[in-house]
Amino acid sequence: MTIGIVRGALAVTGSCAAGYGLYLVLTRVSHPDWFRLARWGLSAWLINDLVLMPISLLLGHLVLRRVAQRRRMPLRIGLLAAGSLVIITLIAVGARAHQKNATAEVSPPLPAVLITGGVTVAVVIIAELLQRPQRGKGTAVG
């Protein structure tokens, strides 16, 4: 009963919020921007569902399958950290290339990515070393 009330309240609140967002898109966002926004939304969805995630699954099956169970977690987390750093670095590189005014330039990304990448590698290695070996390989990877 209580969970039903909570679900109902969440659904109604969520529908109102999403509906208001849609109203804002229709009334506050210019018509040309509708198409740019739709292109971004569709691209985000398609690239994620049809490219990035299938590749990550494939990597999991091709690579993690050959890796000992205890090493999978540091590898996964290392890849997640590397992916996040790559995204931020690419944006920083593009932003610097795009910015033509020296006083408004963003910080240089190379030292940032080298240091934070180094920290990530160090943390992954330490985590891997600290993990106690576990018996059993598990059935699935990914």
Binding site: A17, L37, G41, A44, R76, I77, S107, A140, G142
Partner: protein, 392 residues
């Protein structure tokens, strides 16, 4: 001639027969328990971003009511949290999508012959699609915006605001539809599920939180001064940029005002008429110095000493008190070329028209000859190159 229903149903069933079941492709961390636990962090993170984003949007609105001039650090804190949490959302979102991804192959539950079951299934898939797209668009465009690379080419402010509502709404509906699964996943004794895997699941969740925490640690220094040296991933490290000790987002050249700075004068319009003051006349008025932070919507903030004339003294010259003031910049065509300074900010002793920063005459990129500095205002509203004040 087969009916439309048969034409859809037959290939769908053939396709489903050849697609693997979610559980056959799911890895050891792609379980409902992991998805639910990462969601317990991603949901609140989005919620914090949403609420602090509402504060920022409100502060930038002419009819905004949430922010007053006190506390002076208010916007600095809320916008710092907004950007830091947004950056932390990046690995959380990637991990959540990764952990839930095999569910993309889930089949309709119950009697698949019933239209209602298929409709619910389609609606759920649509909701997940909207949630995924909205989440990625929000985090991605937010990151592009803090680096001031407007590659998306749409007007960021209304789009980011509208999609925030859609994303938040989709999250709430998603939680409503998944609540039984979530509660089951969170209650289920871990050992009973897969005896050898809880460690890897805990490790994965801990690792994801570690990455989110690491990104925050390496960027939050743009808001928290003592951590400045660690802010390697922040687009601007305030204390390592030395144009009069404060970073610049928009230069005089970008604003197209450079040629008009030499013959500048300030016009003030109010109930008692109007006054035109050149730099010498302004220098003859009582000067004051205030120490205030400038807090940018892109997340960085830094305190500086600003010197100039109190806004309330300036508007007092034309019989103004208790009025909002329209601040007009030399810049043309920008969203922030004309801003409103509400009456309570005008009345505040610390709201000034600044001519100096940290003891030096303002650099043109900092708003020479005059810019507004008021407490607890978004940096975008600390109007630069001010040429006119109009009492409303």
């Amino acid at each position: 001639m087969p009916s439309l229903a048969v034409m859809i149903k037959w290939p769908t069933q053939r396709l489903l027969r050849h697609l693997p079941e979610p559980d056959t492709i799911a890895g050891d961390v792609q379980t409902p328990a992991v998805v639910a636990r990462i969601g317990m962090f991603l949901g609140p993170a989005f919620g914090i971003c949403f609420l602090t984003g509402l504060i920022s949007h409100n502060a930038q609105s002419d009819s905004g009511v949430l922010l007053g001039p006190r506390p002076v650090w208010g916007y600095r804190v809320t916008q710092g949290i907004h950007v830091a949490t947004g950056i932390a959302c990046l690995p959380l979102l990637l991990a959540k999508i990764f952990a839930a991804y095999p569910r993309i192959l889930s089949r309709p539950e119950g009697d698949t012959g019933k239209k209602s079951a298929l409709l619910w299934f389609a609606a759920d898939k649509l909701l997940i699609g909207v949630l995924t797209a909205a989440g990625i668009v929000q985090v991605a465009t937010g990151l592009f915006n803090v680096f001031q690379w407007y590659v998306f080419r749409f007007d960021f402010v209304p789009v980011h605001y509208a999609i925030a509502w859609i994303a938040m709404g989709a999250i709430l509906i998603h939680v409503a539809t998944r609540l039984p699964v979530i509660t089951r996943a969170l209650r289920r004794p871990r050992a009973a599920h897969r005896s050898d895997l809880p460690t890897s699941r805990r490790g994965f969740i801990g690792g994801v939180l570690g990455v989110a925490g690491g990104l925050t640690l390496f960027s939050i220094g743009q808001t928290i001064g003592p951590l400045d040296r660690l802010a390697l991933l922040a687009p601007r490290r305030p204390r390592s940029v030395h144009l009069q000790g404060v970073p610049v987002n928009r230069t005089a050249a970008q604003a197209g005002v450079t040629a008009r700075l030499a013959d500048w004068s300030l016009t003030i319009v109010g109930p008692d008429g109007h006054r035109e003051l050149d730099r010498a006349a302004l220098a003859a008025l009582p000067q004051t110095a205030v120490r205030l932070p400038i807090a940018c919507v892109e997340g960085w903030s830094i305190g500086a000493e600003w010197s100039g004339v109190r806004i309330k003294d300036l508007v007092g010259l034309v019989g103004g008190a208790g009025h909002d003031v329209r601040v007009v910049s030399l810049e043309r065509g920008s969203r922030y070329a004309r801003t409103i300074l509400p009456a309570d900010f005008v009345a505040d002793e610390r709201s000034i028209l600044a001519f100096k920063i940290n003891g030096e005459v303002l650099h043109p990129d900092h708003g020479f000859p005059a810019r507004v500095i008021a407490p607890n205002r978004p940096g975008a509203l600390q109007t630069k190159w001010v040429e006119r004040l109009e009492l409303l």
